[in-house]
């Protein structure tokens, strides 16, 4: 029987030594300075012009989408929205460092990753209008996207639950022999949930090829980071689990790309988790239900507006000669127009027929759901005006 010694690595001391600041400094990777100039000793990731432009344009698109949809919510056209303004680099550039076969399990502020994968404006709209063209069948609130073909797991509202799930998914990928990893996004707030602890510890012990990507944007709704944890961010926890950890400037697309790329290589080669903490700031309100003026200052926001990830990469592109200012402006106008056009078109698409209410609870509806559906249809026929969304198509 194997001899075990859980003290094998422990050294001795003979005086009470209280370890207080016992962590190495965990520095933050930054390649581009806030104004877009690379640090002189930084090496840029190897990315062709088209690749950088794809990252840039996706960020641009997300900024436009966010602006338009917040406005649409204000106009009462959709019920809810949640913008990622200021955090576009974190989700877009990390997604860019992945392969299409990698599974994405996100929190809810990673529309950038989804857009990078190729989710169309129409697909975004279908989900937000909960219509019959949404492959998720309009069952969840706006922004709970999901697309099987794009390996983007449908988002679920309960925070942190996707973290141990990602460990399990990655374990399955490994067992299936796939050259793939899972990336799991979450906020620094969600990292307080018990599921975070379970997920990271299990991934470390069970050797799961998963990238835990924490967006530390300083807030969980109104709760600032200093009321969320007292340690050195989320990165410091990775070390306690024996997980390789990288801290990165979440507003620097190149840094995010480089960190994620390396994390993916490690995860795949060594069958192990890697934790990335991306330092950023939620420039947006938490959601359209929130008003941040109640809990933070305009000055604080301004300090972060100056670190805008889109401006940063844009400046680099322009300096490089890969981006034309005027064309860029036209592109954005076009994006706005496209979003508006899609919005107008999609808001007319009807919701699913009433049969779908009882589909997908099980693989097939059992007798009691069939019975409940029949009664409901009967009822709708009796009061068609009360159920206008479905009565027309019974």
């Amino acid at each position: 029987m194997k001899d075990r010694n859980h003290l094998s690595d422990v050294s001795l001391t003979h005086k009470v030594s209280v370890i207080d600041k016992g962590l190495v400094d965990i520095p933050m990777l930054q390649i581009l300075q806030p104004d877009g100039t690379p640090h002189s000793d930084a090496s840029l990731p190897e990315l062709a012009q088209e690749a950088v432009l794809k990252i840039y344009r996706t960020m641009r698109f997300i900024r436009v989408l966010d602006e338009r949809m917040v406005a649409a919510q204000r106009q009462g056209r959709i019920s809810f929205y949640l913008a990622s303004t200021g955090e576009e680099a974190a989700s877009v550039a990390s997604a860019a460092a992945l392969e299409p076969q990698d599974m994405i399990m996100s929190q809810y502020r990673e529309q950038g990753a989804l857009a990078y994968r190729g989710y169309s404006t129409e697909a975004f709209m279908n989900q937000m209008f909960s219509n019959e063209k949404d492959p998720n069948k309009g069952r969840q609130m706006p922004i709970h996207y999901g697309d099987k073909a794009l390996n983007f797991m449908t988002i679920s509202s309960p925070l942190g639950t996707q973290i141990p799930q990602a460990s399990g998914y990655a374990y399955g990928q490994k067992m299936a022999g796939q050259p793939a990893v899972t990336i799991c996004y979450f906020g620094e707030g969600a990292a307080s949930e018990g599921d975070f602890h379970a997920g990271l510890n299990m991934a470390a012990v069970l050797h799961c090829p998963v990238i835990f990507f924490c967006r530390n944007n300083g807030y969980a709704i109104s709760t600032p980071a200093e009321e969320q944890f007292a340690g050195d961010g989320i990165a410091s926890r990775g070390l306690g689990y024996g997980i390789k950890t990288i801290r990165v400037d979440g507003n620097d697309a190149f840094a995010v790309y480089a960190a994620t790329k390396q994390a993916r290589e490690i995860a795949l080669a060594e069958n192990c988790p890697v934790l990335i903490e991306a330092m950023s700031y939620r420039l947006a309100a938490h959601s359209t239900s929130d008003d941040p003026t109640g809990y933070r200052s305009k000055e604080e926001e301004a300090r972060w507006q100056a670190k805008d990830p889109i401006v940063r990469l844009g400046n680099w592109l322009k300096a490089k000669g890969w981006l034309d200012e005027e064309q860029d402006g036209k592109d954005v106008d076009q994006m706005r127009q496209d979003v508006l056009n899609e919005l107008k078109r999609v808001e007319k698409v009807p919701v699913c027929g009433i049969d779908d209410l009882v589909e997908d609870v099980y693989d097939t509806p059992p007798w009691h759901l069939k019975e409940q559906l029949e009664e409901l249809k009967q009822h709708i026929r009796q009061y068609p005006d009360a159920y206008p969304k479905t009565s027309g198509r019974l």
């Binding site: 309009g138 069952r139 509202s157 709760t223 809990y295 699913c352 009433i354 779908d356």
Partner: protein, 325 residues
């Protein structure tokens, strides 16, 4: 008397409780400076300081574990779970710990001072995770009390009673009514009894039983029934656990018929407990089967929310079916 909405009534009750007893502490996600995502805890931190009204890290199991320990120490925690849908990570702390604390220690220790507040219910386009009505999940747990108010007046009186009751109380707030329900509320202190249902409207043909936001629906359906000559007795159960069998059975003995309605899915919902008990105790009085008008046995939907809900039309139809059985 003052006009208050349901949120204001709750805020008012919390202020009274915290003023009266400095052991009362209010905490949860975003409840501090911000006053909670619904603003039920507005101004409490300003009035009573950060030590007595504070944000917690984002962990429901932690909030309830912390609250359990704090209550067992003798403080009076009023813990908020931001949405009823997010109470499940705390399920173990509530069902295995809160509920069993006194019993397992032979009454040496208890968390009787604890109150858990959480908004529940649908009708706000919230989909699967901002709409659930989880009362039945807890009603199978001896040791807990469960209370649901239907309007601002009830909310204040029941919340004050819950905070002061020497048993852990899960206080579920119908969030659809937070701002929609407005009424006269005494500014002074008062309590309404736990464990007691209230007959809201007397009637003779059928008893309608519900709680929380569903009471409005019952009243609307009863009006429709009235127009076709059916007289409904409307009962607000108010306390789900322990529940007031006596009042309900007395009503059923009188009317001979019972209809129960809740938003949660029908199977395993609390209406089943009521129906099972009433058919046993009023077997010979029942003139027709006890009817349940509940949510469908699906997760809470979004696009089909209207169709899913046990609305006044469905209740009205069930009233007619039951009376004409």
């Amino acid at each position: 008397m003052a006009k208050m909405n349901l949120l204001q009534a709750i805020n008012n009750a919390l202020i009274l409780a915290m003023t009266e007893n400095d052991k009362v502490m209010v905490f949860g996600e975003d409840v501090g400076h911000f006053g909670g995502v619904f603003r039920a805890t507005s101004n409490l931190q300003e009035k009573f300081g950060k030590a007595r009204c504070f944000n917690t890290p984002l962990t429901e199991q932690g909030i309830m574990g912390f609250a359990n320990g704090l209550a067992s120490q003798g403080s009076v925690p009023v813990a908020e779970i931001q949405f009823g849908d997010y109470i499940f990570p705390a399920f173990d702390q509530i069902v295995n710990e809160t509920a069993k604390w006194r019993y397992r220690s032979g009454g040496q220790f208890s968390v009787g001072t604890l109150t858990i507040r959480t908004p529940y219910g649908g009708g706000i386009a919230g989909g699967l995770y901002h709409s659930q009505s989880p009362e039945a999940y807890f009603a199978h747990t001896p040791g807990l009390k469960i209370v649901v108010p239907r309007n601002p007046y009830q909310a204040k009186g029941l919340l004050l009673a819950s905070i002061r009751d020497d048993n852990p109380v899960l206080f579920m707030e119908p969030k659809r009514l937070y701002r929609a329900s407005v009424g006269e509320v005494p500014e002074e202190d008062y309590e309404l009894p736990l464990g007691k249902a209230e007959i809201v409207t007397q009637g003779s043909d059928i008893s309608l039983l519900a709680w929380g936001a569903q009471m409005e629906v019952m009243e609307k359906a009863a009006e429709m029934a009235d127009k076709v000559g059916i007289s409904c007795e409307i009962i607000d159960l108010r306390s789900i656990l322990p529940w007031d069998v006596e009042t309900v059975c007395q009503s059923v003995v009188k009317t001979g018929r019972l209809l129960i309605s809740h938003e949660a899915p029908q199977t395993g919902g609390f209406a089943s407990e009521i129906a099972a008990t009433v058919q046993e105790r009023c077997f010979l009085n029942l003139e027709s089967p006890i009817a349940r008008v509940c949510g469908l046995d699906t997760p809470y939907p979004l696009a089909h929310e209207k169709e899913y809900m046990p609305d006044h039309l469905k209740v009205f139809e069930a009233i007619k079916r039951t009376v004409n059985y």
